[in-house]
Amino acid sequence: MVKVTIDGLEIEVEEETTILKAARQLGITIPALCYNELIEPYAVCRLCVVELQRGQRTRLVTACNYPLRESVVIRTNSERVQRLRRMNIELLMARAPGAKIIQDLAAEMGIERTRFPLEDSDEKCILCGLCVQACSDVVQAYALGFSERGSKRVIGPPYDTTPETCILCGACAYFCPTGHIKMTDTDGRILHSELTLGPNAAITLPFRQAIPNVPRVNPDYCIHMKTGGCELCVKVCQKEAINFTELAQDSFEEFEVGAVIMATGFQDFDPTPMKLYGYGVLPNVLTSDEFERMNNAASPTGGRIVMENGEEPRSIAILHCIGSRDEHYHKYCSRVCCMYELNFAHLVNVKTSAEVYQLYIDMRSFGKGYEEFYQRILDEGVNVIRGKGAEVVPAYQKRRGEGGLLVCCEDTLIGKYREIPVDMVVLCTALEARADAAEIGRKFNISTGADGWFIEAHPKLAPVSTTTEGIFLAGVCQGAKDIPDSVAQGAAAAAQVMKMFCQGELLMDGAYAEIVEDICSGCRICNGLCPYNAITYDIEKKVSAVNPAMCKACGTCVAACPSGAITGRHFTDEQIYAQIEGILA
C-alpha cells in the first residue's frame, strides 16, 4: 500500500494503482478521453496530465497510466494543469468540431471558442485510439488501424477497404467516446429477418420470461467464441460467474427421472417454397413470426412497425392460412392463426395509421371471448376479405409507375378478382410439427401421426397420456392449439405425473409376455424386436427375460419366437382357443 495526497486529500491505495483510479476513489474527476477502464491505457490524448511532486521536484504525468509506487503529492487542478487542459481542448475543438463530448468539456471549462480554424465541422474523430485498441487488443479482429503519420494520421480499415476480419461486433462503436463510429447497415436498411427478441448482444436474457432468469452467453454473438479475444465480461463480473472453459464445450448431463412430459411444441412453416408469395425475394413480405418480433418492445425497432427503408407502411395485408388447410402442405387448420391475425390488425391500428386487409378462407373465432374480439376488430375498421391471398407481386409489374406490393385474390363474397396495393404483407404461416419430431418420438417410444404431431393414448379418454407408461404430452407437440389449451394440457399432464408419484407404486396390467426358460434357445431375436425395450438377455443363464413392468403386452415377441418359448399372459394359445370354441359353441 502507498499513501498519496491528491488535491490535499490523503488516500491509501494498493501499489501500482493509477493516479486516475485513486482520484476517482476520492471523488475527484480528471478528464480522460482516451481512457476506458476495460482497455489498457494508451495515454495519447494527454488530457489527464496532472502535476506530481516528489520531494522538491515537480513534474507532469498522465494520470490514466501513472502507477503509484511511493508517497507523492498530486495536483489535478493546479493553474499549470488547467492551462494545459484548456489548450488541449481548444486544439481538439478545432480538430473535431462535431464531437459533443469535446464541446461539453469546453463548456465545463468555460471555453467559448477555439483560437484555431476549424478543420471540418462534422469531424468527430479525436484519434484517441480506443477503437483500434478495442479491435486489436480486446476483440482481436485486427480490422482497424492507424495509417499515415503526424497531422495526417487517420483511423480506418487497412487500405481503406472493407476489412475481411471485421466480425461486425460493434466494439469500436461502443468504445468511441465521440460517436464518430456508428453501426449501420451499409445501405441503411432494416433487415426484418435479423430482428430478434432482444438486441444482438452476446450476453442477454434469452427472452424476458426466461427461466432461470439469468443472462447467458450466446455463442453466435460472443466475440470470444469467434476470435478468442475479448473476455471483458470476465473482467467485469465481480462474482466471477463467467467461465469460458466450461462454456466452450457443451456438457452432457444424465438425470434419472420417473416420468417425462413432452412439450416440444412446433416450428413455423417456411413459406419460401411458395414462390407466389415472394417471401425472401420481395422486400417487406414478412412471416407472422418476423412481424411478431418486430412488434416486441425490445426489438431493434423498439416495437415500431417499419418497412425496410425505416418508414411506416401506409397499408398492410395479412394473409391467412399460409401452409394450413392446403392440399399441398398441411391439410389441417393451425387453429391459432385467425385469432392472432386479428390481434396483429389491432396492433397496427394502435401503432400506425395504416390500412389493414385481412384475407381469410373462414374466420375461426371459436374460443371464449374470441368472437367478441372479432367484432371489435371489425368495428375498428379493418378490411376483411373472404378469399385466400393468391399472389404477391411488385406493384410496377401490373401498374406502371407505382411502388409497393400488389396482393391478388378472389373476393368470394362479391365474386370478384381483386388487386390490393399495399406496402407490407404478413404471411400467417402454419404451425407444423418440428422437423425432429419423429426422431424424438422414437427416442421416447411414442409415435407420430400422419401430420407429424405426437399421438396421444386415446383422443377422448387419455388425451395427455401416451402408449408408453410415464411419457405424457402437453401443448402443440400433440396438435395445433393456442396457449390456454396448451396450458390446460400441461396442467393435466402434470397432474397425471403427480398421481403416479403419489401412488408410490406402479399398478401393473395383468397382461404381459413370459419366456419359458427351458425352451428359450437364447437366440435373442426378441431382444431387438420389443418396441418397449422390455426384453433383456441374461448372459449367465444364456436365456432372454421379459421385464413385466415395461411390457405392454403387444405380442410382437410372442409371434416372433422361433422356439415358441414366449407366451402372452391372459392371451395363451389355450385361452384363445378356448374363447374361439366358446364363441363357436
Partner: protein, 609 residues
C-alpha cells in the same frame, strides 16, 4: 601486414565520396603502379576525415601531409613530385582563409589541432573494411582486458566513475543505465546500438560506423559483458547503405576472428550482433519506438512509466546506447575513469548528472567556413568551435546565432558565444546537446524563418500518436507561416508561447517535448524580429519574400547596367518595365515577390526593403 614506405589515406566519407574520392583513389593506384611504386606506396580508403568542406581530402602518412581539393588532373604531378621525388606539392596544401602561406601538416591546421579524438580516434588512419588495421590500432584490447581481468560489476563501476553520459541526446549517465539493466530481472537481456541518426544534417554516427565500425562492436561487447547479455542489435537506417555495408563486413570479420559468437577469447563469454534496418522515420530514434520497430510493430513511442532497461525489447531488460557512446567505452576501459573525468566540466564523483565529461562529436554546418565533423572536449566554448575550429563566418558576414542539438535544439545568440558546451549549460540556455548537430546562422538568416524551417521538420516527423505534438506543432507551424507571410497578429506571439509550453509539457515523447525549442529560443533571444514581422510586416533579413518590396535603383541600373534588361526578361510576372539605357521599374501591383530580379541583377541595382 606488409609495411609500406608511404600510406595515402584517401577520405571515403560521404562528402568526399560525393566529390569523387573513389575515382581519385583509383587514379592514384593506377599512377602509383605506372611509376612502379606499388610496393612502396599503399592507397587506403578511410572513413570521414572530418574536414568535409575542403574535400576531396588525402593525408600522406607517416609524414602527416594534408592535401585538399584534390582532382584527378593533379594526380600524375602529385605522384611524381611527392612520392617519387619527395617534394610535397604546395599547390594542394590547405591555406587558412586569412593567411598566405600553406600549412603542410594536418596537425598544424587549427581545424584539427583544437580537436580531441576519442570516439573518432581512428579517423582517417585505418581502412574500415579491414579488421587487422583496427586491431593494429588497438581495437579489442579493451575487450581483452575486460574479459580477462575485470568482473562485470567492476566494468559497471568504472563506467559509472568515468561520468560518461549518453551521446544520443538525453545525456543519461551510461553507468547508471548499465547498472539498472544488470540488476533487472528477465532473460535474455538485450543490447542495442542506436544508429538511427535521424537529425537532418547530422552524420556523427554514420562517420563513426563508416570509419571505424569495430569501435562500436567492441563497446557493445564490453556492455554486454557488464550487463550479462548475449544478444545485440544495431538499428541502422536504410538510408545509410555504406555504413550498413561496412558494419556487416565488420560483424562478419569479428565473427571470423572469434570476437563475436560463442566462447569469445576462449573465456566462455558469448555475444552476437544482428543488424536491424530502420525505414528512416525520425521518431524511430526514440528508444521505445525503435524497439517497437525492431519487434516488427509500427515505430511509435509507447506511453508507459516503465523503463526500457527493465521492460524493453520484447518486454525484456534492454540497454540501448548511441553509436558514439558505445565507441567511447573501449577508450575509457583502457585509459581509466580518471583520465576521462579530467576532460570536461563539473564534478561527477557524487552526482552523475553533476558534469559533462570527455568529448563530443559535432557536425558543424551552416554559415561557417570550415564545415565538417569535429570532436571537441566538453566545456569548450561555442566561440572556440565556431571561430577557431570553424574558421568563423564566410564572406565577412556577421554571426547571428548557432543552433545546437539538431532540429529541436534552440538558437543561441552572439551574447552566448562564450557559453561552455556541456549538457547543463546548453539546457539552461534553452537549447540542448542533442546528438551533436551544430548549425551556424549569420545576418542573412531570418530567425522566424529558421524556427519555421525546423518546426516544419519535427511537425512532419511527428508520429501523430499524441494530441499535443500532432495538433500543437501543426498549429505552431500554421502560426509561423502566417507571420512570415505578413499575416501575423499581435496575439500570435502569446499563442506561440502557450502552444510551445503545452507541446513541451504534455507530449508523450521527447520529440514533442523538444520540438518547440527553436520557437521558444527565437522568441527569447530574437523577439524583436517577430515583432517586426508582425507589426511592420517586414523581414529584416529579407528572407521572408512575401514581406519584401523590390525596387530598382535607377542610377545604378543606368550607369552600371545600362538597362541590361535581364530582370525584365526573367520576371515571371512581367512586372518589370524598361529599355536599354533606361532605368527599369518594378510594378508593385504586379510583383509576386519571387525575388528573381534581385538574384539575377549583376549590378546590385535591385534593392529589397
Amino acid at each position: 601486414m606488409k609495411p609500406y614506405r608511404i600510406n595515402l589515406m584517401v577520405c571515403a566519407g560521404t562528402g568526399c565520396v560525393a566529390n569523387h574520392s573513389f575515382e581519385i583513389k583509383k587514379a592514384l593506384e593506377d599512377e602509383v603502379k605506372k611509376r612502379g611504386l606499388e610496393n612502396e606506396v599503399q592507397v587506403v580508403a578511410t572513413g570521414c576525415n572530418g574536414f568535409c568542406a575542403e574535400g576531396p581530402l588525402m593525408v600522406v602518412q607517416p609524414e602527416g601531409i594534408f592535401y585538399h581539393q584534390v582532382t584527378i588532373k593533379d594526380i600524375p604531378h602529385l605522384v611524381e613530385e611527392h612520392f617519387l621525388k619527395g617534394r610535397p606539392v604546395q599547390k594542394l596544401m590547405y591555406v587558412p582563409p586569412d593567411a598566405k602561406a600553406p600549412i603542410p601538416k594536418m596537425s598544424d591546421i587549427s581545424f584539427f589541432n583544437r580537436q580531441m579524438l576519442i570516439a573518432l580516434r581512428n579517423r582517417g588512419l585505418i581502412d574500415p573494411e579491414k579488421i587487422d588495421e583496427a586491431i593494429g590500432r588497438g581495437a579489442y584490447s579493451a575487450l581483452a582486458k575486460v574479459l580477462t581481468a575485470m568482473t562485470p560489476p567492476e566494468v559497471v563501476s568504472l563506467i559509472k566513475a568515468s561520468g560518461l553520459r549518453g551521446r544520443g541526446g538525453g545525456g543519461f549517465p551510461t553507468g547508471i543505465k548499465w547498472e539498472t539493466c544488470r540488476k533487472a530481472h528477465g532473460e535474455p537481456k538485450y543490447i542495442i546500438c542506436n544508429a538511427d541518426e535521424g537529425d537532418p544534417g547530422a552524420f556523427m554516427d554514420r562517420s563513426i560506423i563508416e570509419g571505424d565500425p569495430h569501435s562500436v562492436l567492441e563497446g557493445m561487447l564490453i556492455g554486454a559483458y557488464a550487463i550479462g547479455s548475449h544478444h545485440g542489435y544495431i538499428y541502422i537506417r536504410q538510408e545509410y547503405p555504406l555504413a550498413r555495408e561496412r558494419l556487416t563486413i565488420a560483424v562478419q570479420q569479428a565473427r571470423e576472428y572469434g570476437l563475436l559468437g560463442d566462447n569469445i577469447f576462449g573465456t566462455g563469454f558469448q555475444f552476437d550482433i544482428k543488424v536491424a534496418r530502420g525505414a528512416g522515420a525520425f521518431v524511430c530514434g526514440e528508444s521505445t519506438a525503435l524497439m517497437a520497430s525492431i519487434e516488427g510493430r509500427v515505430g511509435e513511442p509507447r506511453a508507459k512509466y516503465i523503463h526500457t532497461v527493465e521492460h524493453g525489447l520484447w518486454n525484456l531488460p534492454t540497454c540501448l546506447n548511441n553509436v558514439e557512446t558505445w565507441a567511447t567505452v573501449p577508450e575509457i576501459i583502457l585509459k581509466g575513469a580518471e583520465w576521462f573525468t579530467s576532460i570536461g566540466t563539473g564534478d561527477v564523483s557524487k552526482n552523475p548528472w553533476g558534469g559533462s565529461k570527455g568529448t563530443k562529436v559535432f557536425s558543424l554546418t551552416g554559415k561557417v567556413k570550415n564545415t565538417g565533423l569535429v570532436e571537441v572536449p566538453m566545456g569548450i566554448t561555442l566561440r572556440e568551435i565556431i571561430y577557431d575550429i570553424g574558421g568563423g563566418i564566410p564572406k565577412g558576414k556577421q554571426f547571428k546565432s548557432v543552433q545546437t542539438g539538431g532540429p529541436s535544439g534552440g538558437f543561441l545568440p552572439a551574447s552566448l558565444l562564450d557559453l561552455q558546451v556541456d549538457y547543463e549549460q546548453l539546457t539552461e540556455a534553452g537549447s540542448m546537446m542533442g546528438s551533436g548537430g551544430m548549425v551556424v546562422m549569420d545576418e542573412d538568416n531570418c530567425m522566424v524563418d529558421m524556427a519555421k524551417y525546423f518546426l516544419a521538420f519535427t511537425q512532419d516527423e511527428s508520429c501523430g500518436k499524441c494530441t499535443p505534438c500532432r495538433e500543437g506543432t501543426m498549429r505552431m507551424l500554421e502560426t509561423l507561416e502566417r507571420i512570415t507571410q505578413g499575416k501575423g497578429r499581435e496575439e500570435d506571439i502569446q499563442l506561440l508561447e502557450d502552444l510551445s509550453q503545452f507541446v513541451m509539457d504534455a507530449s508523450l515523447c521527447a520529440l514533442g517535448g523538444s520540438a518547440p525549442n527553436p520557437v521558444l529560443t527565437s522568441l527569447r533571444y530574437f523577439r524583436e524580429e517577430y515583432i517586426t514581422h508582425i507589426r511592420d510586416k517586414k523581414c529584416p533579413a529579407h528572407v521572408c519574400r512575401e514581406l519584401n518590396v523590390y525596387t530598382i535603383d535607377p542610377g545604378l541600373c543606368v550607369t552600371k547596367g545600362h538597362g541590361c534588361g535581364v530582370c525584365r526578361r526573367q520576371c515571371p510576372e512581367n512586372a518589370i518595365t524598361g529599355e536599354k539605357n533606361v532605368a527599369h521599374v518594378v510594378s508593385q501591383e504586379l510583383c509576386k515577390k519571387c525575388g528573381v530580379c534581385y538574384d539575377v541583377c549583376k549590378f546590385d541595382a535591385v534593392k529589397v526593403a
